[in-house]
Assembly symmetry: C2
Homo-oligomer: 208 residues x 2
């Protein structure tokens, strides 16, 4: 995350409240740094104030406290422009999606913030709510991936995009955060292959 202010006209800065948006970004960066450095139990308003340059009174007034700061940082993380892979085949898309998760979480630099959010949700209901919202929105963005597969005749028409994305990602998150097993490209391929077999058998159809 560059520490300079973005140039005028950079995406997301020209909306009304540009200064507010920059303050929010600085606060978000400080929250992420604090979560990565100390974890949720060690994150303090003092840390965020010091690292964002925003006064403690402003932080309390606008975010309420540490829980609100973490929830807003997660909402902010969901405002990116991520779209699912589009490789031309369902199998290629699922493998690319799985590999993206493996690459994110095996690189300590990119793994730190999402790992800290997942950990924070164990201790904060507001962080858990924000995480649920984040993933619901991510799953919704994957609908076109399945629409394309249905059009190409690679998946049954009733296939549920959310069920597919959960199926591809679940074995990887299980290894990462539950069974604490190593994660590699082979695990990504296995997850994508199993999801593909279940899709073809109609096991990821929408309810109703």
């Amino acid at each position: 995350m560059p520490s300079e202010a973005p140039p005028p006209g950079a995406p997301g800065t020209l909306r009304p409240g540009g200064r507010t948006a920059r303050t929010r970004a600085a606060v978000r960066d400080a929250v992420l740094a604090g979560l990565v450095e100390h974890g949720y139990p060690g994150l303090t308003i003092e840390y965020v104030a010091e690292h964002s340059g925003v006064h403690k009174t402003t932080l309390y007034r606008r975010w309420g406290g540490v829980e609100g700061l973490v929830a807003d940082a997660l909402d902010f993380a969901g405002e990116d422009s991520w779209t699912p892979p589009d490789t031309g085949s369902l199998e290629g898309d699922l493998r690319a999606l799985a590999l993206e998760i493996v690459e994110t979480f095996t690189d300590p630099a990119s793994a730190a913030a999402p790992t800290a959010f997942i950990a924070a949700a164990f201790q904060s209901d507001r962080a858990a709510d924000a995480l649920r919202g984040f993933y619901a929105e991510r799953f919704a963005r994957c609908a076109p991936l399945i629409e394309r597969a249905v059009e190409r005749g690679e998946a049954p028409p009733a296939t549920d995009a959310g069920a597919v994305v959960r199926a591809v990602s679940a074995p990887l998150f299980l290894r990462l955060f539950i069974t604490r097993e190593p994660l590699d490209a082979a695990a990504a391929d296995q997850a994508a292959g199993a999801a593909l077999a279940a899709i073809r058998a109609g096991a990821h159809a929408s309810p109703g």
Copy 2:
């Protein structure tokens, strides 16, 4: 967990070191209570000493500190007599296995300890190692479930029990601890159904 000492001859008490085993059980109970009440970051040697009746110096000498206490409590949890379901069919076994996970984690009393262990692994490498060992041993216990299915012709001969158990449990743990979505019997059936379809397609074959 009953607080009375088990009667002489109860399973696990007649081995050499019965008194040691009872001390270990008392310490384990205190560690679980502390994890559930305060989480890993708030667990202290003082709490464990007070709630187990075992002196702090003994705790430090035998377990080294909080990390060692948590790791040993997890090792202890793995010394139970759990076996996988045996319903007479692969589909029945997978559904029962998934439902067992849902029931464990939707009842606050039974969910508290395993949830606390999973949370502790975010902050302690020794807890993460112990969790990895716990699940590896659990997966190994599921081998007979797959052997029976192969004998009945319900699964290809090379099916990997660990891959199957990961496949059934992963979507449930994803909902519980990553996407923070509600968990119910329908989610259990969906997880079992998708795993079954992937098994039949040979997507959970052992490597090599």
